[in-house]
Amino acid sequence: MSTLVSPALPQAPRPAPRIALWMVLGAILGALVVMVGALFLLPPAVGWWVALAGCAGAAILAVAYAWERHNYGPLLVAPALALLFLLNIFPLMWSFGLSFFAFRANRLAPPRFVGLENYVGVLSDPVVWERLQTTALAVVLTVSLQMVVGFLLALLFEKQFPGRRYLLILVLTPMMLSFVAVGAFFRYYYEPTFGLLSQFVRIFTGQPFILLDTPAGAMAGIIFADAWMWSPFVMLLVLAGLVSVPKYLYEAAEIDRASWWRRFRTITFPYIRGLLLLALLFRTIEAFKLFDVVFLLTEGGPGTSTETIAVYVYRLAFQYFRTSQSAALAYIILFIVIVLTNLYLYFVNRRAREA
């Protein structure tokens, strides 16, 4: 990594740059003026294109500026950053601003500045805490189930055996499926009359079994579907850890006649510990956003017993139209996700350094 640029290369004499910084800045300013002017003065159909042309002109000049100075880094990442800014960072800033105003997307009333009122309102709302509890319960249950099942699957597929590659495909498929498809599957399997689950239970009880009708059953149904989908993810990470264990350690353990448990505790586990932690964090971040499966399977019901925080934000925004409150709540979620992502990357980097 450190030898990216060799120090003592013979450099061809560079021609003096022809484009100065003031030209680029001037072009950007000009493009801004043209853009504003075109959007306000010209008819929209023409205005858009004129504005676009102005931006393109400024961009071309900026590219030429960086090119002449062999400043490739900024040049290469600029388009990506611009796109990300336009459709990710700018909306983020917008909703951050929105969270300080009273605003409903279905009313014509202009936004009114209210300071931290939305945050105070959201954090003191018992409903929000209830939804957070539901989410926490779902996250803990689904992630621990995934960790256990994924781990066991990984042990099963640890060694090489005939046909391993093809059987792995069967197990890995659920992870790549769409939430919509999985939601639809499980709706079918949980269906009271014709669903497989109900029919199976009926063999023993003689009664149709309506899983999604009780709060506990609905939660179990969601968790089962989600864990089924994501256990292969944990398996994949644990397998990666298992493969990295040097074989000579096992050979030595065999000579020492170490028991299976001792071999696992002293050799295998230290090698997969890091990846287990990463799997745990990654799945927690993802499970925290649990939305699609809930939305398709129970729509938060019965009542609101399985309504996770992500579903609640969606309802706040698009059903109750409390737009700015939902933005405030979304920002609180974002904060938690950022903390978790930071932690995740910290462990990723630590693992990379150790390797």
């Binding site: 796109l83 909306p91 090489q160 919509v180 079918y188 993810f233 990470l237 074989k247 939305f291």
Partner: protein
Amino acid sequence: MAAQRRPIGEAGWGRTLGAGIVAFVYFFPVLWIILTAFKTYSDALAIPPVWLFTPTLENFVQVFSRSYSAGAEAVATGFDRFFFNSIFIAGSSVLIALVVGTLAAYGFSRFPLRGNDTYLFIILTTRMMPAIVVIIPIFLMFQITGLAGTYLGIILLYAVFNLPFTIWMMKSFFDELSPDVEDAARMDGSSEVRLFFKICLPQVVAGIAATAVFGLILTWNEFLFALLLTGVETRTIPVAMAQTIGGDIGVRWGLLAAIETLFLIPVIVVVFVLQNHLLRGVTFGTIKR
């Protein structure tokens, strides 16, 4: 090394049998859907469920045109359009993300900026954050600019949605290349442009393919953005599927299973092709091995 009796890390056919049973049970929900797709209306609703039946393609025909009441004339459902939309939107957005993202990944990998890691962290965060955080402003932006319900809007949005993933993925591939070849080429006076196109890019072709296919699947599966930002003309399969489940077909499970089977087949093919890159793909390139 002396010949070993039973090489460590290998198991025999016994393990194949055990793993086979587990894999079959694990895959069963998918398998049952695929089977149901080939059942007639009454077979799909049979109690107890039937295992042996005469397969029919009737459901697959009905995905595209069906009659809503007995004896009525068959009406086109628009699913051919939705399939086209899904393919077209996923294809174009992944192409944009790939071009822009590969350049950026190369930049982040070879010409680190000041605060390189901060940029990368922000980029990863935009992928990790719940879509719900940005969806309201994006929804408002699309309403104001008239992009809502257009191909251009959803393609741009998906391109940006795929960008963080593409950048991290491609950066992980560029980081793995040995710098020796590049240094040698530089020594021989190769220009930076030539270096990128002739030396680096050819070495990561497999990576580009893996990234592209992963992006295609992510886009193909995406639901929330599509639900809020596509119109009747630009609707994608997941949205159409969700509406069909909640809407007009009632308990015609065979039909639903047929839609799902058509939707799933590309995904299963991809898992088959991508097995070696799966770990890197699902962790957005943060974990390589």
